[in-house]
């Protein structure tokens, strides 16, 4: 469906393009024709509206500002051709696009590390982020699967967290002991918190400045693997501590900003709406991070 539309866009005079706060794109609204096209397409359910456009720039357009300044510096005998005086081109930042996460990165690698660490294996019932697919699976099973709960009363269901070990235990405490004794895990291993430790979690939460992620209190009904952070942002804060000193103040400011503004209902409800739309297979995921889980979990909030 290659659309052929011959639209010429007239640029508004000057930089009056309201909805772009940065200097990047300041082009004015499309012509009627294009508006019409957009309307039609949104009716048909297709939001992709791109069509090649000739862009005419008026003399006073902000895109021309730098060149004009150059010209007048020349007229006033202040022009310097050497590169040292000119601003270097800036590189685009990357930003985490997960709803509610506003961290920005200067390199793709940083972004991917962030994403992989915090958003990749997210339980869609309680939005907890697990460090690996395996731990996520275990979490979902132990926390959100009623069948598991039932079976666990009669058999050893709690799987050892160490891959390859394969041992199973009747209770999560037994598993924890096993982890400590045999695998020399620390007693406070973050990815094996008891689900019932609500109290601890609450105090922990109070300590954090974020309240964005209202991870369900009532989701946890059975014992099991309880993983780390309730929220993306808390994660970030914790990580910040361990990160090198050069973590930019900008980033910190953004995080603070975020915690201040995080409670917008918009963010909250929209995030909720999106979570439960799909049951997606493991390999392909276009939800919030790689969110997996069951539909209609009990203990779902709201």
């Amino acid at each position: 469906m290659m659309l052929q539309s011959d639209v010429v866009q007239f640029m508004a005079v000057g930089g009056g393009q309201a909805h772009n706060s940065n200097k990047e794109e300041g082009f004015s609204e499309a012509t009627e024709q294009q508006e019409e096209m957009r309307r039609r397409q949104s009716e048909e359910g297709n939001p992709f509206t791109f069509s090649p456009q000739l862009l005419r720039l008026h003399r006073d357009h902000e895109l021309f500002e730098d060149g004009d300044v150059l010209r007048h510096m020349y007229l006033q005998d202040l022009f310097i051709s050497e590169a040292e005086e000119q601003p270097a081109p800036s590189v685009s930042e990357f930003a985490c696009h997960i709803s509610g996460c506003r961290v920005v990165f200067s390199t793709l690698d940083e972004y991917e590390h962030h994403y992989n660490s915090l958003h990749r294996h997210v339980c869609c019932s309680c939005r907890r982020s697990l460090p690996s697919a395996r731990l996520l699976d275990i979490h979902i099973q132990e926390w959100h699967d009623s069948l598991f709960t039932i079976l666990a009363q009669k058999q050893d269901m709690y799987l050892c967290l160490v891959e390859g070990c394969g041992e199973k235990f009747r209770t999560s405490q037994e598993r924890k002991d096993h982890l400590i004794r045999v695998h020399k895990y620390p007693p406070d291993f973050r990815f094996d918190k008891n689900r019932k430790e609500k109290g601890t979690r609450e105090t922990r939460r109070e300590q954090r400045t974020d309240t964005a992620m209202e991870a369900a209190d009532d989701v946890c009904r059975s014992e099991g693997v309880c993983e780390v952070m309730c929220s993306v942002q808390s994660n970030q804060l914790e990580q910040e501590d361990s990160m090198e000193a050069h973590a930019s103040s900008e980033e910190a400011a953004r995080i603070e900003d975020f915690s201040a503004s995080a409670q917008t209902s918009e963010a909250g409800t929209e995030a909720l709406k999106l979570k439960y739309t799909y049951r997606v297979p493991k390999t392909v995921c276009f939800g919030q991070g790689s969110v997996r889980g069951f539909r209609g979990q009990r203990g779902r909030r709201k």
Binding site: K23, E24, L54, L57, G67, L70, Y74, D77, E112
Partner: protein, 481 residues
């Protein structure tokens, strides 16, 4: 003729250190930006005497001198030239300027001397007027009105220095006052400029000065309604175009002025048929091709950016009026695509704003022309363009638009782009902070995926699904089955 200031150390005299100079420049730049935002961006030029160095403008305190000089001139019979010379130096001082014009009959005196039978007196008189025209006080412009018919008349003269001074004087005063501009238009400044350029075509200094004056005229308020139609009706457009020659002997400065005039014309008007008919697109684009080549080879004079910039803008805006069928006849050389691509890189670290403007022109070139999109692929420019995708401030969004233009044309192009690695480039751009980049990336991705199932597979196989986050704005759109 204008020489470009290089950063240099002063031997003595006004020993501005390098740092002071830089500071001054930065302040000036800030002031210019603000002036532009206020739509008050106007500059004047001062033609220095032969014995003066460009950056050693001396401002001698000479208020009292001015009065006494004036009286002397009124009464002395001989040796007026010497006094005039002194007066012109004294008139460099802004307060002296004010003092002078307040003196009764001062302008009358100057005009008289301007028309004197002594040619040297004429020269010095016009020099005095020139100093006045360069004044920061806008009242100076109206004060100079009595001289304008003479200045215009002298444009058809043959002496270079004199004509230059007349031209720069006129150029300095016309943006300052509506009254002055109206008067000049009525007195025939446009035909005068046209014949001046025509007759002095061989004289670079005069052509440059005339170009500057026309540029100033085009910056005046209401230029669109009052000035531009007259200019387009005259022979000036073709004159301006004829100056745009890549002839290295001709020198950059006149071409720079004429190109900026053309930019003022193309960016203020919507109807470019006249200019297109006169071959403006052809001329500007072929000059861009040769300049582009020279820039890339590092084979240019300093300040070539000052010429490339207005040329880019002319081409960009002319393209927006040129019907796609006429494109191949208007564009002499399809290599323009390659030249522009290289220019983006050449400017990327030196003048990023120009890199962005170049990318804009590329967008206009590729928007509706399958032929040019095909050329882009043939010249193997797509991978080059993809290298630009990390650079912000409008560069990457514009470049992505260009790639989108290509993808939009044909399935085969999508396939080719996929082969060249566009999908992995998109995987990165989708994660950028800039919302426009993300939206545009989605659009391009959509076009690519829809064009062929293999591309869709390739995208999935690339493992992008795992790290493909979804923004709030696009979740509703993403529903790949």
């Amino acid at each position: 003729m204008w020489r470009l200031n290089k950063v240099r150390h002063k031997a003595g005299g006004h020993a501005n250190t390098l740092e002071e100079l830089r500071l001054r420049r930065r302040e000036k730049e800030r002031a210019l930006r603000q002036a532009r935002r206020d739509r008050q961006l106007v500059s004047k030029r001062l033609l220095l005497n032969e014995d003066e160095e460009q950056d050693q403008m001396e401002i001698t305190p000479g208020e009292q001198d001015v009065v006494s000089l004036f009286h002397t001139l009124q009464h002395s019979g001989t040796d007026k030239e010497a006094y005039l010379r002194t007066l012109s130096k004294a008139l460099r001082n802004p307060s002296a300027q004010l003092t002078f014009i307040k003196l009764e009959n001062s302008m009358h005196l100057l005009v008289g001397l301007l028309t004197s039978s002594d040619a040297r007196c004429r020269l010095q008189a016009v020099r005095c007027l020139h100093e006045l025209s360069h004044s920061p006080h806008t009242s100076m412009a109206s004060a100079c009105l009595p001289a304008t018919p003479y200045l215009l008349t002298y444009l058809s003269g043959q002496s270079t220095k004199f004509t230059e001074l007349c031209l720069y004087t006129l150029g300095n005063i016309c943006p300052d006052s509506e009254v002055v501009k109206e008067r000049l238009l009525a007195q025939g400044i446009i035909p005068a400029l046209a014949s001046c350029i025509q007759n002095q075509r061989h004289n670079l200094a005069v052509v440059e000065a005339a170009g500057f004056t026309l540029f100033q005229l085009l910056q005046t308020k209401d230029a669109v309604q009052k000035v531009i139609p007259m200019v387009l009706a005259s022979s000036l457009p073709s004159q301006l175009l004829s100056v745009l020659t890549p002839d290295p002997e001709f020198g950059l400065a006149p071409a720079i002025e004429c190109a900026w005039c053309l930019h003022s014309l193309t960016s203020s008007t919507v109807d470019h048929r006249e200019l297109l008919a006169q071959g403006a697109l052809t001329q500007c684009s072929s000059l861009l091709v040769s300049l582009g080549g020279a820039v890339v080879d590092g084979n240019t004079d300093q300040g070539v950016e000052l010429l490339v910039c207005p040329l880019l803008r002319c081409v960009g805006n002319l393209l927006s009026s040129c019907p796609v069928e006429a494109l191949s006849s208007q564009l002499a050389d399809v290599h323009l695509v390659a030249a522009l691509c290289e220019l983006v890189f050449a400017f990327l670290h030196t003048f990023p704003a120009l890199a962005r403007e170049t990318a804009w022109v590329l967008n206009n070139l590729t928007a509706h022309s399958t032929e040019l999109c095909s050329a882009l692929l043939t010249f193997n420019l797509a991978p080059r363009l993809m290298e630009l995708l990390p650079f912000s401030q409008g560069i990457n969004t514009m470049v992505l638009r260009v790639l989108a233009n290509v993808a939009h044309k044909k399935k085969e192009f999508c396939f080719r782009l996929a082969e060249l690695g566009l999908l992995s480039a998109l995987a990165a751009t989708l994660k950028m902070a800039n919302q426009d980049m993300v939206t545009l990336s989605l659009e391009v991705l959509f076009m690519m995926i829809v064009s062929s199932p293999q591309i869709a597979e390739q995208f999935v196989r690339q493992g992008n699904s795992g790290t493909f986050p979804v923004t709030r704005s696009n979740t509703r759109t993403f529903n790949i089955k």
